[in-house]
């Protein structure tokens, strides 16, 4: 599966869809997309990972960084991360600050 990175917004809620192997090649696209979010008043960030097969530490770090840039009180919901991806997110420190949903 090739990597896919895109986002959609609905009011204060933004969803990022990721698919495939989110590796260092996909990282610039992911970071550009997350940078764009930094300028918006996002109240809820949903990270859709159902179709993600793997994620490098760089990609995890980009998500952690994006989470930190959200306004105070904004929530992050990670959806559909398979066990290996959820483990990578936990090692990246996202486990304690994001809600993991199946």
């Amino acid at each position: 599966m090739s990597t896919s990175v895109y986002s959609g917004s609905n009011g204060g809620s933004t969803t990022i869809h990721l698919a495939g192997e989110v590796d260092d090649e996909a990282l610039p696209r992911l970071r550009d997309l997350l940078d764009e979010l930094g300028g918006r008043q996002v109240r809820r960030l949903v990270i859709e990972l159902r179709e993600v097969t793997g994620m490098t530490p760089g990609a995890v770090r980009a998500l952690v960084y994006a989470q930190q840039r959200l306004p105070a009180g904004a929530e992050v919901i990670v959806v559909g991360a398979r066990a290996s991806v959820a483990a990578a997110l936990a090692l990246g420190g996202l486990g304690g600050t994001a809600t993991l949903a199946s």
Partner: protein, 683 residues
Amino acid sequence: MTVTATGRLAGLRLAPGSPTPFGATPTADGVNFAVAAARADRMWLVLMDRADGSVLTELEFAPEHRVGEVFTAHVVGLAPDDADYGFRVERGGERGPVLLDPDARLLAGSGEWGQRPDYRSRIATPDFDWGDDRPPRVPTEDLVVYELHVRGFTRSETSGVAAPGTFAGLAEKIPYLRWLGVNCVELMPVFEFDETDNVHVHPETGVPLLNTWGYSPVGVFAPKANYARGERPDVELKELVKRLHAAGIEVVLDVVFNHTSEGDHRGPTLSLRGLDEASYYLLDESGRHRNFSGAGNTLNANHPLVREWVVRSLRHWVHEYHVDGFRFDLASVLTRGRDGAPLADPPLVAALAADPVLAGTRLIAEAWDAGGLYQVGAFPHYGRWMEWNGRYRDALRAFLVGREGTTGDVATRLVGSPDLYSGRGATASVNFVTCHDGFTLADWASYDHKHNHLNGEDGRDGENHNVSWNGGVEGPTDDPDVLDTRGRQVRNALLLLLTSRGVPMLLAGDEFGRSQGGNNNAYPHDGPSTWVDWSLVDRNRDLVEFTRACLEFRRAHPVLRRAEHPHGESTPDGGYPPVSWHGERAWQPDWSADSHLVIAMMHDPNPRGDGLSDRVDTVVVAANSGAEDKEVALPQPPADSTWRVFANTGSARPLDAATTLRDGHVLRLPARSAAVLWAHTPS
């Protein structure tokens, strides 16, 4: 017991040793050796010829002299300069290679720079005369950090020093550092490292590349031997520290405790692996190395044995070498537990914060690691730790290259990042735009993309997210408009950095336009691309003078150095608030996504409050990162004062910009420029 040895070491006597201190410690009549090795069955002390490292004798530690898991021996009759040493372990009937002492205060055998080393531990004798050396103890709010690589700083013949590329060479540049106005040097790794430890080759010549930066320690108690002119790197480093202190300059060491040079299972067995791999390193359930450092292995920093080793090392550098602080490479690794998960209350980080010997020294975290952990603003600080503020770098760059939606973020960074360091003050933030990782400042303004093909990894290494802009042409050009834009961008970055609250850090050479040709990960190179070219000081004299003037301005204006975050509320007497924000019209900031204008007026509302200043101090910092020229109406200066322009990068002569103010309060701020003004009160 008496052991049999040959030659001049015959007749040594092994008596019971002391389990502390670890390592080799000269005594009145010999040398005490102590080394912990939980899983060793037997241990030998290997004595080696100091000249060539050949083994002279191997003396077994007596089982009855073992204290707990510590093998001890007091070798009576051994003088420190009789021999170098190592340890050999037997486990399960199998004897391993000669190991380095993890507490070795000196490491011999590194050879000339670029030669494959043949390391052995050397017995150190503390015989340095510190005279009346005292730590400068620069107030944190006054600190200006200057990051440099000891070898690269003076290795070029353009440095004009007598001992290029050494501790002594750096000492010869102290007058320059004082002239520039920095008061703290942060030395990239000076622990012993193997500069030949790089598997990549130069893609054009096939010559093996190096690990010039040294972020891969072989020993954490021993100074890098070939940073010395002679045979005593310990003495030469101490001499450097002493001379820097005499000049009022602090010394912060960049230390690497996230991994070692032993790599993963394919790496060499130099020391820790042979002594107690499972305690020193993070291993997974299958015994494989976890790699949160990007370098193959990860130190098990919160294991009690390792924790104590790290604390011991840092105490050694403070006590023996009088250093003033540490910057911890990939410090987030230090917050990970046995299973690799981040700990809320990491014992090592807490221990360093509370250690009585380290009290008063600086602890600076690079608050991320290669495992995805990113803790800027969230590193467990225990009221002590400062951080490299990566978000300051990212925000300033994004704003200056004209990205949309960046004004609010950069404004927060200019006043010390109160969103990240609430309750800790602005001085928790080490602000920087460039550091050794990534582009130099000149390259940030000259390249859109990294150019790392000479690093031998097909250009894959190094950061892809540089938030840089080349001004219209990628790399070298003689287009005057492009060069003008780049010159302004560099000055914009310097001016904002050096007027921001927090502790500013400069990368050596940025003040005179040092380039690495667009290489943003130059660790494998040891040549003109990484050696500081001192001829640039003359060729870019105006830029050096500009930087120096910014530092002088910072010193002259306490309002820029306040440790606390400024609030935006007016004082009870109706005076200006500590910080207020403005736009094209006074008191009307524009925080919209397409705004490129940030204007802060910083006002010291309590000038006689705590001894920081004894006069009203008001400074305006204004930046226009857009492509259009702006005219902005500044707020009225405080009573009885007038605005004076300190610098305007939009002027042909940025430091001679007095004429840019119209009607006493209208500032012309050309496209992509920044200006700083201050309220002048006639005396």
